[in-house]
Structure formats: C-alpha cells, structure tokens
C-alpha cells in the first residue's frame, strides 16, 4: 500500500539529499588523502538517513545544531556544497571563511547553528535556542543532533532536565551508531539498551527509530515537530544507525574494536539502498531516475571541489577579524 507520505517527488528528493552527502563525504576522504583537507575529519557515511529525514520535517526558519560529524546536517539544511568544501579546505570562500573547519560548520542564514567538537557541549546550546524562540513567542523548534557517546556527559543531563522543566521546543536526536570512538555503548552507558530511557527519566517523551530508514525518521520527526511547535515540550529520538567508516580519518575503517563482518552486516542496511528498494518496489521511480541523480550529484560535488580548489586562502590580515563583535 502506498502511504500518503510516499510521494515520488518527496522520495526522490530524500534520495538525492542522501546521495549528495554520500558522494560529498567520499570526495572529502579523497581530498583528505591529497592533504587538501587537514585536521580531524569525521565522515557521516552510513548515517545519512537521520540528518536528511529529520531536517526534511523542519521549516526553513527552525534551528538545527550538531556535533563535529556535521557535514551531513549542514548539507541537508541546504548549505552550498561549494562553500562547505571550501571550508574544509580552509579557504576564504568557506562557510566560515576558513576559521571553523570540518568540525565547526555554521550557516546562520539557513539556521544551521553549528558543529561543535566538545562532546555534549552543544546540547545546552540547543536548549538555549529553544528557550529563545519560546521567549520570543515564535513557533519555531530546534533540533539537536549528537552521538550516543554524549549521553553519559553531565552537560547532556543538565540540558535534558532544563528542557523538560521549562517545556522547551527542542527535539533531541541521538544518533546511536553503537560506538564512541572505540568504545561500544554497552561499555559507556548504563542504560545502553534503552538510551531513550535516559530522556524518559526526566519526563521527556522519547522513541526509538530505525535510523537507516529515512522515511521512518521523517515521519516520526513530522509528528514530534508538530507537538513541540504546539507547546508540548521536548522530544527525544534515539535513531539506531551505524557508521560505515572509522571514527575519523585517523581511525581505520573498522579498527579492532569491531569486526569487518559486523561492518559488512550493517552495510546491507545502507540507507540509500533501503530507500532505493522502497522507491523501486512501489513503482515510484526507475533505474533511470537513479542514474540521473548520480550524474547530477556527481556534477555538484565535482563543482564543489573545483570551487574550493580555485578559491584563495584567507589573507593573514583576517587573523584578528571577528575575535570580538562590533
């Protein structure tokens, strides 16, 4: 049965967004190997359905905020891939003029309020954004993405309690990819089998979702965004996912904290593959559509790299700019 939410245009759009992130990330890895990108680089490959599904349920003026694995959220929010790549290259034309880098993308006009590299540190910021929109009596919501590794942190707990206490319109999206660097959730989180339960203990409504299924993520988000917009307070989503690559470029693809077989097992539930199957089996698209999307996205990513490559580095006179606001 074709559900009302299964519209051909919508589905192909979701697929395109996930494909854009996938190809962008693969290209970033290549650029890292060529030393065009440096520092820490954390790829979002395998987790695309969460950013794309969640952000598809937002209005353009809602807020989104993320941790350091942030390219996917930024691109899903609609940021220009050229400007994102230029930021990774440290170029003057980057989203943050080269000051931020991979872990600190910000696109304020698109209400992407940033990537943050201190685990747990941006969760209170999300409650602050939500506090502000409530204070300003705007009907906006804030969505906050973070890894399950942030769950034990004190900042997460303080933020959850505040959000519940003051019924703030914030949606916490926990990307549970089973690992924080080399540590599996069961060695880090007391309630590892029910991370959403952490939020419930603060009186926050919470649900677990298949984070490989972009439609499931989007549909749950649609429901909870409306609730939050309507003044029902925060919601917590535990999205079950898996990172197909190493923690960062300095961590081998599977490492010895997990087996190759485990990675291969999860790759069978590749979010792009799952959506493609859904589209094909519901006759909402054909192989030709996917070939077309590959071409389109390929061109976008190639153009992004060209733009980044041809852009100048910031002049040294920029060093002291923006330390303080005018």
């Amino acid at each position: 049965m074709i559900m009302p939410s299964m519209d051909r245009v919508d589905l192909l759009f979701l697929y395109r967004q996930m494909l854009l992130i996938r190809r962008f990330e693969e290209k970033s890895a290549e650029m890292y190997a060529l030393a065009k990108i440096a520092g820490f680089l954390h790829l979002y490959i395998g987790e695309e359905a969460i950013a794309v599904g969640a952000i598809a349920a937002l209005r353009p003026d809602d807020y989104a905020i993320s941790a350091y694995r942030d390219h996917g959220h930024c691109l899903a929010r609609g940021s220009d891939p050229g400007q994102v790549m230029a930021e990774l290259f440290g170029k003057a034309t980057g989203l943050c003029q080269g000051k931020g880098g991979s872990m600190h993308l910000v696109d304020a006009p698109r209400r992407f309020m940033g990537g943050y590299a201190i685990v747990g540190g941006h969760i209170p910021l999300a409650t602050g954004l939500a506090f502000a929109t409530k204070y300003q009596t705007l009907d906006l919501v804030t969505v906050c993405f973070f890894g399950e590794g942030a769950i034990p942190s004190g900042q997460a707990h303080e933020a959850l309690n505040l959000a519940a206490l003051w019924k703030l319109p914030v949606i916490f999206v926990c990307e549970n990819n089973r690992y924080g660097m080399g540590t599996p959730a069961e060695r880090a989180i007391a309630l590892y089998a029910d991370v959403a339960g952490t939020a419930r203990s603060y009186g926050i409504m919470a649900e677990r979702v298949d984070g490989m299924d972009v439609l499931a993520v989007r549909d749950l988000m649609r429901k909870v965004v409306e609730q939050a917009r309507g003044g029902k307070g925060p919601f917590f989503i535990e999205a079950m996912t898996y990172r197909f690559m190493g923690h960062s470029m300095s961590d081998p693809a599977h490492g010895h904290y997990r087996t190759k077989e485990e990675v291969e097992e999860h790759r069978k539930r590749d979010p792009l593959l799952l959506l493609k199957q859904t589209i094909l089996s519901n006759n909402l698209g054909a192989e030709a559509d996917f070939i077309q999307l590959e071409l389109e996205v390929g061109e976008v990513v190639t153009a992004a790299v060209r733009f980044a490559d041809e852009s100048p580095f910031p002049p040294l006179s920029d060093l002291y700019d923006d330390v303080l606001a005018e």
């Binding site: 872990m103 600190h104 942030a150 330390v323």
Partner: protein, 325 residues
C-alpha cells in the same frame, strides 16, 4: 636508549604501576583502544581492566572520581584525551583537587596525576588547539609540568606519580612521535628544577614543551650567525625554577620567553615579572615575549601558521634584543 616521547611516558607509567599497586590509569580509550594516542599501549593486557579503566565521555565525573579515590589512599593517573577536555573537569581540579589538602588543614591529600596533550597540532580547529597551562599555574595547590624531551618526560612523570599533590602533566600531540635518548634503568627527575639545554653568552631563551624544540632550532641558526644563545627549559612550570633563569640572565643580560599560549596573562608575563623582580639591574634591554596570537585558533592553514610562534619570530626577538636588527 633512543625512544619516542610516547614510549617514554609508557615506560614511566608501567614501571610505577609495577612498583605500586595503588596506582591505576583512568580515562577515555586508555584500555582496549590503547590510548587515543597509544600512550598506554599494552597496559590493559599487563594490568587488567581494574587498573586500566576505560570511561565514558565524562571528564568531570571520572576526574572527580579519581580525586575521591586519591583521598581514600589510591594514586590515580587520569588521562585526558586532550587538555581541551580538561576544561570540563576544571571544577573538580580547581575547587576540589587543588584545595582539599589546605581546606582540611592537612588531614586529607590528593596524590593524583592528570596528564594529556595540550597545545595545537595541525589544523584541529579552535576547540582542539589550546595551550591552557597558564590557567592551571594560576591555581594554588597544583603543580604543573610540561616536559619537552623523552628523557624529561619519563623522569618527571615518575616524580609526578610519586608526589603527594595533584600534578597537571602537559604533553603535546606533536611531541609523541619525537625521539631522544632516555637514561637507562631507574631514574627520576625532581619537580621544580629547570635545565640549561644549550649554553650561550649573548642572550637567554626560556621555552618549554614543543616550543623548546623551536628555541633550539633558532639557537642553532643564530649560532651560525655568531649569536650564542643560552636555552633554558623550566620543565616544571609550577613551582618555577627562577634561580636557574636568573643565573643565566646575569650572564647574558637579555631574555626572550617563548610560549605557544595566548599572550595576555600568559605564563611568560609571570616569568618576566619574576625576572624583573630578581634581576632587573642585569638586563640590558626589556624582556621580549614570543607567544601565540590572542585569537581562537583558526582552522585555515596559513592563518593557523600565523597564530603559532615560529622559528623566524624567535630569531627576530633575539636579534632585536642584541641590537642586530
């Protein structure tokens, strides 16, 4: 014996843990992952998970836990994956570890080492590139060490572990792979003792951690140009060995202080004040400071390079003092 800075730290902890079962290592990824920078390689295999404790990402929690354990007679070594994350544990370090001995009138003590890498590496961005040693040095009740060579790292870490106070031990990502001669057999280096790393007569450079390597390179080049620089590594930043610096300044009459941290309220300001107080009459010119720029670390390579002291700036500072520029 030639070994890396990383191996020297590994040996220091290993020897101490073999000697004293009260010592345990705790932090993120210290066990099965062998340490984020592989400093604790082989530890969980040798000492087991009870003494090599992997934690969740909870710096305030596990640092506080270590302080509590120290109060009850254990000797914890806390590994911070980087000193930037130590900011999350700062309440525990400043409000508890540093004060408990004093507040209790000496009844309780906190024998504890908190170690991990400080300073910038390559383009890690503003939240991962900070040199925060001045913050720790400001707090009464803490000792602070920042060794530059494998030999010093090993000897000082062993002393830090045997000390009965909270000791902040600052390493550097870019030092882990550097190699140097490490003394054979059992040795320790006392805290609070600087070392003259190179003798000279024309000017003195004080530099520590990564910046020592920069100072030595600058001294090499200056020597080829006929300027002989004396290079001093305080090694322990608190308590600071002022007499060794004073003795050098009395000889050279000129002082350059190099640090990677921010200029304003940086450690160099304190060192300069101490030297002005103790050796003003011996100075031929005002003390020069070479520091990091007062900005959050930019990601972009050329901007980052401009924000961190380099050899050219050290050489320029020495030449300015010597009147050859």
């Amino acid at each position: 014996m030639l070994m890396s800075y990383r191996e020297a730290l590994n040996q220091a902890m290993r020897e101490e843990m073999r000697r004293d079962s009260r010592i345990f290592l705790i932090g993120e990824e210290v066990g099965y992952y062998q340490g984020a920078f592989k400093v604790s390689k082989g530890f969980v295999e040798e000492f087991g998970p009870q003494r090599v404790v992997d934690t969740p990402i909870t710096e305030a929690g596990f640092t506080g836990l270590a302080i509590g354990a120290a109060m009850a007679g254990l000797h914890p070594i806390v590994e911070l994956m980087t000193m930037n994350f130590g900011i999350l544990a700062l309440d525990q370090i400043v409000n508890n570890a540093a004060k408990i001995h004093y507040m209790s009138g000496g009844q309780l003590s906190v024998p504890l080492v908190i170690r991990g890498p400080g300073s910038a590496a390559h383009q890690l961005g503003a939240q991962h590139s900070q040199s925060l040693e001045a913050w720790f040095c400001h707090v009464p009740g803490l000792k602070v060490i920042a060794p530059a060579t494998p030999h010093d790292a090993k000897g000082l870490l062993k002393s830090a572990i045997r000390d009965n106070n909270p000791v902040i031990f600052i390493e550097a990502q870019l030092l882990y792979g550097t190699k140097g001669d490490v003394g054979d057999g059992e040795y320790t280096i006392p805290l609070g003792v600087a070392e003259v790393k190179r003798a000279g007569r024309d000017a003195t450079i004080v530099a520590y951690s990564k910046m020592l390597l920069l100072a030595l390179e600058a001294a090499d080049q200056l020597s080829r140009e006929g300027i002989e620089v004396e290079v001093i590594d305080p090694r322990t930043l608190k308590p600071l060995d002022i007499p060794t610096i004073v003795a050098s300044v009395k000889k050279t009459g000129r002082l350059v202080i190099v640090e990677e941290g921010w200029h304003f309220c940086g450690l160099g300001a304190q060192i300069a004040e101490s030297i002005y107080a103790a050796a003003f009459d011996y100075l031929d010119a005002p003390i020069q400071r070479v520091t990091g720029e007062d900005v959050p670390m930019p990601y972009s390579r050329p901007l980052e390079n401009a924000a961190i002291p380099d050899k050219a700036r050290v050489i320029e500072a020495v030449k300015t003092l010597c009147g050859t520029q």
